[in-house]
Symmetry: C3
Subunit: 253 residues, 3 copies
Amino acid sequence: MKTRILATAFALAGSAASAQDLSATLPDSVGAVAPALSAYATDDLFASVWADETLSVRDRALVTFAALVTRHEAGNLATHTELALDAGVTPAELSETITHLAFYTGWGNATAAAEAMAPVYEARGVTAEDLPALDPDLLPLNEEAEAAREETVQSNYANVSPGVVDTTRDILFLDLWLRPALEPRDRSLVTVAALIAAGQPEQMTFHLNRAMDNGLTQDEAGAMLSHLAFYAGWPRVFSAMPVAREVFENRAE
Amino acid sequence: MKTRILATAFALAGSAASAQDLSATLPDSVGAVAPALSAYATDDLFASVWADETLSVRDRALVTFAALVTRHEAGNLATHTELALDAGVTPAELSETITHLAFYTGWGNATAAAEAMAPVYEARGVTAEDLPALDPDLLPLNEEAEAAREETVQSNYANVSPGVVDTTRDILFLDLWLRPALEPRDRSLVTVAALIAAGQPEQMTFHLNRAMDNGLTQDEAGAMLSHLAFYAGWPRVFSAMPVAREVFENRAE
Amino acid sequence: MKTRILATAFALAGSAASAQDLSATLPDSVGAVAPALSAYATDDLFASVWADETLSVRDRALVTFAALVTRHEAGNLATHTELALDAGVTPAELSETITHLAFYTGWGNATAAAEAMAPVYEARGVTAEDLPALDPDLLPLNEEAEAAREETVQSNYANVSPGVVDTTRDILFLDLWLRPALEPRDRSLVTVAALIAAGQPEQMTFHLNRAMDNGLTQDEAGAMLSHLAFYAGWPRVFSAMPVAREVFENRAE
């Protein structure tokens, strides 16, 4: 392992998420049991990956949070909640992220995340006024895109599970996705991160295209893959790479 | 989020699993961190999905329990054990479910489930006499179906892993599947739920057909998919939908 | 369930991992909630599978440990750490295994494993001198194989995520894989076990071939599949079997 001395401490010092925040995500026991792992964390993951400005520290913290929620890493979520808040993700955005991921990665992941987040929110004085409204004015609907999506799902699955068809439309696409508490680009970002972390590249084409329609750049998407290699494991990312490649190539045409 | 006022409180009141049981599966911290998620749970998941009588509350509780065991959601299992017992799943059936899922989702999921269930069983006075026997009279074997299954597995894998071939036959199909503590239809139900929750649609064709051979209706299977969208996440269900569709279509011919 | 009385207690007594060690991985609550599961564990998993000498007890303990780390079974890892150490896996090898699996199954799995392992290491007096060095002399590189791997990844993904291409080369293949703290055969063994446990057979061809190049026999690989059926669930193994078959057949030609 070559120690990579980097100017990146400056990059992190320049953001609200400091090197201290990152170190807090590494339990002391790692140093006691696997000093080499601790060194990889400090030298490569924290000082190099997190400092690569292709994807902002704020986005990296949000993507990491989404991946850990998806993986049900309850024990690691409190420190990553702190990290995300320090990196500029708002309490409302994190709250909306777990609401979104309840639907995209399963209810129990979101409730376990809430239990890890609650003490952090309480310690920081986050109150109900800081959190997303129950019935906000919704963002405008792209009616053409929604009609196309609904037509596809209806024609494929109306006879398989009308319940899935109906709830997908009424709860997800006419409601959840239109809630303003998370920018559409960020909502797509956490969705794609969740799909990669869950090992579901077969569901990624639609959502990566949507993410890029919503403003995610190809460079940012590539940096997200590199970031998630650490948090979701290399094989998850290598299974997602062919899908990303195809999406990028089709959009370039 | 439109508040969906529903007559479904009646449906739940009519079963042993009350609205209180469902609320108990929602930790207070969800309301503190994500009030919108709490509202989705109450208005959509509890009042609407659980109340859809296409799949009984008893079956929904069993399917949810199986999904949570598969996802290693140990922290959520005690309340879901209570819910399942109140909904009419017997202690013997839950016990047999984790025994079955030890083989279908991994030993550690079942042992973690046992640790979550033990205090509930003790508090309710469940004793050894209430639990499945070690060596019961087995259900009759469908010898033709078993011969076909064995022939397929032998011809494909005898040279790959004789251990898998032998244990699959001796432990799973000539023993576990014939234990009477869980109706074959319910054994299939929890198996399919586990495969969807684990993200293994590629293993679902055999087991969904078997579930329907054992009495699961197509409407119930469709309602299970809709139910699991909440507990395993929408993408898991959308990856399972094409397999369900093909099974349904092939059986209709 | 036929009780399988076996001579295998002898086999286990002959290794450092005794029947007591295996029993310690079965919490008492399993007997209280699911006596049949407890009997399957004792009669089939412990007395029969673990005693099959096609794969050594030491390898079984390492493979099981890798699977549990991958599945984030933090609650089961302390007893399996004890079991692995008693079976002859060294503290340095387990330490290096979690360092390796941080990259292959996600950072949070490795840090959770470290937290479970730390008290065991402390109780056994394992100190920093017993653990892998940070900057060891690396094993020699197979330059031809590495050039081929790099060429494939570059040509496919240089435009998708240069970060993934670079870190895969610099951190994984020019560093991590060359660290001497884990024999290449064992490093491959835990990698393949992790891929099976994570449900990623699509990434297995490269690593199973590499494992066999590094000395894993086909019989051992088949026994690993049979072993992992218990710890990762039958469906994970049945999804891996076609890949193993194809690898075995291609190597036989």
